[in-house]
């Protein structure tokens, strides 16, 4: 599997993602600078977490219009799986590849903690190695993760299995106020596009990639990608 990680000025999880991808694939992941005009041939594209362009104007707004994104958008539309983590999710929303927007956390505070997610959709290139309904522990670290969209969009997402990850209580596995770190509508932590090839989520699977980090619950996001390319 050839994977590319897009690096924006202010990305800070790009190398963690690279480590995770390389451990799973056994091959070097390409780091592609935002100023490039085109991507090499790749099987998977990852937009990493961080604070691209210092979160100026709105999180992800500047990165969404950076030079490399035209090719990312066209590859995504051509079916190349794209994963956006945290700031990467914000960028995907700003490009319009995913619907909705990530607003300021309801608490107005930066939140850095473990969250528990219920896997709501396994038919994506990034969740196929999970079991439907499984509860996994993956941490968040963001100030703007409060997912919001209009009612029609929400109905469409919920009605067509496009909510991929949902914040839940670890004991009951149900979406609760306490389980929701940012006030996201319907406890949404991650979604996908209509073709289920583009996935965005606020939590950081690369930060729970191996037991040494506290948990390896995030590892299968990357293993799923490998599996989807091999399949």
């Amino acid at each position: 599997m050839r994977a590319a990680v897009i690096v924006f000025p202010g990305s800070n999880c790009d190398r963690d993602v690279k480590v995770a991808l390389e451990a799973v694939t056994g091959k070097p992941a390409m780091m592609v600078w935002h100023g490039e005009t085109s991507l090499p041939p790749v099987d998977v594209i990852v937009l990493p977490g961080g604070f691209s362009y210092g979160d100026y104007l709105r999180c992800g707004a500047m990165a969404a219009h950076s030079r490399i994104m035209a090719d990312v958008v066209s590859r995504a539309k051509g079916g190349t799986p794209v994963l956006g983590i945290c700031n990467g999710f914000q960028v995907l929303c700003e490009t319009g590849l995913l619907p909705g927007v990530l607003q300021r956390n309801a608490s107005l505070r930066f939140v850095c903690r473990d969250t528990w997610l219920r896997i709501e959709q396994t038919e994506t290139p990034f969740t196929s190695a999970y079991r439907m309904g499984e509860i996994v522990n993956i941490p968040v670290a963001h100030g703007d993760g409060n997912y919001f969209c209009d009612e029609d969009t929400l109905d469409r997402l919920e009605g067509s299995g496009r909510v991929v990850f949902r914040y839940v209580d670890p004991e009951t596995g149900e979406p609760t106020l306490e389980g929701n770190p940012n006030g996201a509508i319907n406890n949404i932590a991650g979604i996908c596009d209509g073709k289920r090839r583009i996935v965005g989520l606020m939590p950081h699977p690369e930060r729970h990639f191996e037991k040494l980090l506290g948990s390896d619950d995030g590892r299968r996001v990357f293993e799923s990608a490998l599996r989807s390319v091999a399949a």
Partner: protein, 80 residues
């Protein structure tokens, strides 16, 4: 021409920052503050001198970058 652009949150979109400002105003003793909504104000100086063309340009700026139409409205005025 100069464009003075206001970006505001759409009705029904939660505004936790506006709420926090409202609470702070209340604790400073300003009674009767019924609602606060926070937005952005952006000034853009344009070399364009034709108003119709400037207007078309500012429209596109707002739609493509300055406002996120999922949650925000924009309005602006142009002056010479």
């Amino acid at each position: 021409m100069k464009a003075r652009i206001r970006i505001t949150l759409k009705n029904g979109v939660l505004d936790p920052q506006g709420k926090a400002i409202q609470n702070a105003l209340g604790s400073l003793g300003f009674a009767g503050v019924e609602e606060v909504r926070q937005g952005k104000y952006i000034e853009v100086d344009l070399s364009e001198t034709d108003e119709a063309r400037a207007r078309a340009e500012v429209e596109r700026m707002c739609r493509e970058l300055l406002a996120n139409l999922v949650i925000e409205n924009y309005s602006y005025e142009l002056t010479a």
